[in-house]
């Protein structure tokens, strides 16, 4: 399969055409970077005490997702039904050039391209894995899918996937977002999901935290713990769907990068995406990084991961074994982390408020194959505003982090540089972020 993709892409590069190829198809396989990493991924581990968290996974996750987490396959076939769903929701998504932004920045022969995941009905890339995960949950005979969400991007994607597959859906939404972002919550409910503010009194960990602080803002780590605990109450009927961090999530998201490679009129020198848990970044960049590692292309390309200064695991965290959830129900994974108990300050890019980064991304950063930068909220939202005024698209606050990095890099780039980034979502439901940070009443 790969040869075909690369042949097409390289042919286009050779022609030097700036045409945007729109006739790409939904990929037939997902890409698993584990097969090509320069060093092996450290295995998941159980903590020293307590029951085996690894054993518990069978009660929490759809079985095919467990298989994919431990798969040695480089190319994982996408089930026909999931591919059909991808088409139904609007894949392949567009890959466009931001010519107005280039002009506004006064760039001379520096090209900026973006892949736009915001056209999906969920408004973000999250639907790519939600569809696959709900499909596998249903295959396991589950009736209900359960998850966490912060800004609501993942919750909305899960709600859509559950609706499309005819399943019940329960969402634990961080309390800070539950209050400040009612729109997505309402849309989840429109789609049939039940949404609880997290911490909630439905779970033990939730009750404990509420005892200390009735207005606890919550965090993704806490919401994950609640979702998992809730699933474990009825493991025959319920399945937990994680929104990021797990390797299979990154694997599903590679449809973004695989499509992008086919769509690219010119090979980028710099590729940029934002990082919450890493699935957006991995989904966009891994197919390219994989080619670089296999020496099949992108040899000189730099890859930049952009995080929020509110949750700076890649730039200030430690590389160590840690739990992906706050209560430590899930096995330990080796990653850059700020510690499972770290509660990031409530920023508008709530999807980036997470303490760790996926193991594969962490390794790539550690090896220097991926660079990492972190930005403050305000500079990011100003970049988003500039992009909106140039390109007519309101970016999600999370995606705006990538835009800020693109602008900084582009200003310093030499003529002939090509930059590509993933615009992971639109911000049409993030008016509060624009209003508060930019002071627009």
């Amino acid at each position: 399969m790969w040869c075909r993709v690369w042949f097409k892409a390289s042919r286009i590069f050779k022609e030097g055409s700036r045409r945007v190829i729109s006739m790409v198809s939904v990929p037939s396989h997902w890409y698993n970077i584990a097969a090509d990493l320069p060093v092996p991924l450290p295995p998941v581990r159980d903590p020293d005490t307590g029951p085996s968290r690894i054993e518990l996974l069978t009660k929490i996750l759809p079985s095919m997702l467990i298989d994919q987490e431990f798969s040695g396959e480089r190319w994982i076939p996408i089930p026909d039904e999931v591919r059909r769903m991808y088409e139904k929701v609007g894949r392949p998504t567009p890959y466009r050039r931001a010519e107005n932004l280039e002009r506004a920045l006064g760039l001379r022969d520096v090209h900026i391209y973006y892949k736009f995941e915001g056209i999906l009905p969920s408004g973000s890339h999250k639907l790519n894995t939600a569809l696959a995960q709900a499909y596998y949950a249903k295959q396991d005979g589950a009736e209900e899918v359960v998850t966490e969400t912060s800004a609501g991007q993942w919750g909305l994607a899960t709600s859509i996937a559950a609706a499309l597959f005819g399943m019940k859906c329960t969402i634990f939404m961080t309390r800070a977002s539950y209050k400040s972002k009612p729109q997505r919550r309402i849309l989840m409910q429109v789609l049939g999901a039940t949404v609880h503010p997290s911490p909630s009194d439905l779970t033990e960990i939730g009750r404990k935290l509420l005892e200390k602080d009735r207005e606890h803002p919550g965090s993704l780590g806490i919401a994950i713990s609640e979702a998992v605990e809730y699933v474990l109450k009825e493991p025959e009927k319920r399945r937990y769907l994680p929104g990021s961090v797990m390797e299979f999530v990154l694997i599903h998201q590679t449809v973004i990068g695989l499509e992008a490679i086919e769509q690219m009129p010119e090979q980028p020198d710099i590729v940029i995406a934002c990082v919450g848990g890493g699935s957006n970044f991995g989904g966009f960049t891994y197919p390219m990084i994989g080619m670089k590692l296999r020496e099949e292309g992108f040899e000189k390309t730099r890859f930049i991961a952009v995080e929020s200064k509110a949750a700076p695991k890649l730039t200030s965290g430690r590389y160590m074994y840690d739990h992906p959830d706050t209560s430590g129900i899930l096995p330990l994974i080796k990653m850059y982390t700020l510690g499972k108990d770290f509660v990031p300050p409530p920023i508008h890019a709530a999807g980036l408020r997470y303490h760790g980064a996926a193991p594969s991304l962490s390794i790539l950063v550690k090896l220097g194959i991926v660079e990492a930068v972190a930005y403050e909220q305000e500079e990011v939202m100003r970049a988003a505003q500039l992009f909106a005024r140039c390109e007519g698209i309101i970016p999600a606050p999370e995606s705006a982090h990538a835009i800020k990095a693109v602008i900084d890099v582009a200003k310093k780039a030499s003529p002939g540089t090509v930059i590509a980034f993933n615009l992971s979502g639109h911000g049409l439901l993030d008016t509060d972020a624009y209003s508060r940070v930019l002071g627009i009443q």
């Binding site: 060093v39 450290p42 159980d46 040695g72 480089r74």
Partner: protein, 250 residues
């Protein structure tokens, strides 16, 4: 000592994992004596306080072994009638690797397997191999089910005694992983250049039949055997091994 050459062949070897001096020195030696006639090779673990990649059953054996640390290996001297390799975590021996390897050589081990070598001490592979050879020991490598293909290629060039593929996320815990696919992937990379041994949560004759069919050169039994002797004694453990051996030679 009986040497069953560890080579790539049509005959799949039966390897038994035991933690040294678990549950106590006497029973441990009794187990070795009772099962030596059907086991092709032993993998003996050095009891550690941090068996990081092991599942609950083998963790328990590390916690309860009578003698802790390298001294637990002393009872192997002169008591082994079969080939054996030593399994230990690099984390415990990284500062005194030569002391550890000397001990392995002194007690007559054939090779050494350090499961965390390739994950946590990646830069030490050359040193590990050279030091093993210096002490007359054969290096063995542990890989996971999602190991980079090129790195497997590189491991083959060290001519290890074998490459050990962990079929599951940790020992003794069975997850819904399509192990047949994973084994085929690594078998096709390694080919006939080096023996491929597999382990983690293997417990039934059907399991070993399937693995034999895919062409693995050895299967390691660990948690299943320990559970069996805990359930009804060494004789039951022996019966389990006999049933597995039958499936391998039929």
């Amino acid at each position: 000592m009986v040497h069953v050459p560890m080579t790539v062949s049509s005959c799949t070897k039966l390897i038994l994992y035991l933690t040294a001096t678990y549950p106590n020195t006497t029973t441990f030696l009794n187990i070795i004596e009772t099962v030596s006639h059907i086991v092709d090779m032993f993998e003996i673990g050095v009891p550690t306080t941090n068996p990081k990649y092991d599942g609950p059953t083998i963790r328990m054996t590390h916690r309860t072994a009578e003698v802790k640390g390298l001294n637990a290996l002393d009872i192997l001297r002169g008591n082994m009638s079969r080939d054996f390799i030593i399994m230990a975590y690099m984390e415990d021996h990284v500062d005194k690797l030569d002391i550890f390897l000397r001990k392995c050589a002194e007690i007559g081990a054939k090779g050494v397997l350090m499961p965390d070598l390739l994950f946590d001490y990646y830069d030490m592979v050359d040193k590990f191999v050279n030091e093993c050879r210096r002490f007359g020991l054969e290096p063995c490598f542990f890989i996971s089910s999602k190991f980079p293909y090129r790195e497997v290629e590189r491991l083959v060039t060290y001519r290890p005694l074998f490459i050990y593929l962990g079929l599951q996320a940790c020992s003794g815990v069975r997850l819904p992983i399509f192990i047949e696919r994973n084994v085929k992937i690594y078998k096709s990379i390694i080919g006939d250049r080096c023996p491929l041994v597999v382990g983690f949560a293997i417990k039934s004759p059907d399991d070993v039949r399937l693995l034999k069919k895919i062409g693995v050169d050895g299967v390691v039994i660990g948690s299943a055997f320990i559970k069996e002797i805990a359930r009804c004694g060494v004789e039951c453990g022996l019966k389990l091994l006999e049933s597995l051996k039958r499936a391998l030679v039929e």
